[in-house]
């Protein structure tokens, strides 16, 4: 019953030492469900949050999807949400002294989903990027 957020596989990222790499991945929620955006309308709501937890790259800014303002039967005012397919981009700095070759960048995406009648416990899903550092 709880909706599953799916993350599309990302092709191996070719990153050049000392440069900047912008990586975008797509995620999707099933129809009829929404998740709070990164900037929810109420402090009690749990925001969509991407965290990079390990790997050779240094995250230098995350661009979350533009939220939709949607009204639900349980909300007195529109909520700031994401629905369907959405993208999240991260700008990475590639350290000049990063090791050459294949590696991985790991992170987590936390979200909390609801439909029009009920909400589901917050979930954290892993995000992994394959890197090829040159």
């Amino acid at each position: 019953m709880a909706p599953t957020l799916t993350i599309a596989p990302v092709p191996t990222v070719k990153a050049h030492k000392g440069s900047v790499a912008v990586v975008t991945f797509k995620a999707a929620l099933p129809p009829g469900y929404h998740a709070n955006s990164n900037t929810p309308t109420d402090a009690y709501l749990i925001p969509l949050t991407l965290k990079w937890t390990g790997g050779p790259l240094q995250a230098d800014g995350i661009t979350y999807p533009k939220p939709a303002q949607e009204k639900y039967s349980f909300s007195e005012k529109p909520l700031s949400v994401v629905t369907g397919e959405f993208s999240i981009s991260t700008k990475f700095k590639v350290p000049a002294d990063a090791a050459t070759g294949a590696s991985a960048q790991n992170g987590t995406l936390r979200y909390q989903a609801c439909n029009d009648r009920m909400c589901f416990a917050p979930k954290t899903v892993p995000v992994m990027l394959s890197l090829d550092i040159e």
Partner: protein, 203 residues
């Protein structure tokens, strides 16, 4: 004249058939309080959870009362809509042997719950839930999940997701009319089975 009477009779028969057909084909009315038959009610599993003051609250403490047991969270929009209804029920029915007990499933615990309860001036007891209690009540995949428990500690109605205020009030009214069974065979154990022990009364 006979022809006229025949036509009149036919018209009446057709009209009645049409009316009956309309009634039969009408969309179902919203279901009223889904209160289970007495024989189909199972005991609500007991639990021991702490309130904001750190006091242990057992569901068994509420034996003899009708209890609205609301599993909710501060981040759950549909839960928040129902809270003013439950506050109203607490005021309206408390003197007739009714209590609302909120079980918050917030991972952040009292740090999240206390300011919320204060801001909303919640007038019923709230305890902090845990996974074990959630599992006892079927896993609680979605919130709100609300159980209406009869005076004998048995689950009389369950609502998963946002329900209607009337469904709750109808169920409460109905259950308040029922007397509690004699104490023997009427207590609650954590495994949901019958047990013959007395529990304290929550004031």
């Amino acid at each position: 004249m006979n022809t006229f009477n025949s036509h009149l009779r036919l018209a009446v028969v057709v009209s009645v058939a049409v009316i009956l057909g309309i009634i039969a084909c009408s969309p179902a009315r919203p279901t009223g309080p889904v209160v289970r038959d007495d024989s189909k009610r199972k005991h609500a599993p007991d639990f021991a959870l702490k309130d904001a003051d750190g006091k242990l609250v057992h569901l068994a403490d509420y034996r003899g009362k009708v209890v609205l047991l609301d599993f909710w969270a501060t981040w759950c929009g549909p839960c928040v809509i129902e809270i003013p209804w439950f506050q109203e029920f607490q005021r309206k029915y408390k003197d007739r042997g009714f209590e609302v007990l909120g079980v918050s499933m917030d991972d952040d615990g009292w740090k999240a719950i206390t300011p919320f309860v204060q801001r909303r001036k919640i007038n019923y007891r709230v305890v902090l839930g845990d996974d074990k209690t959630g599992d006892q009540y079927g896993g609680l995949e979605a919130l709100p999940t609300t159980f209406v428990i009869d005076r004998n500690g048995r689950i009389a109605a369950v609502h998963v997701g946002l329900a209607s205020k009337k469904d709750f009030s109808d169920a409460i009214e109905k259950l308040l009319e029922d007397p509690a069974l004699p104490a023997a065979g009427n207590s609650i154990r954590s495994d949901g089975s019958d047990a013959d022990h007395r529990a304290g009364t929550h004031s």
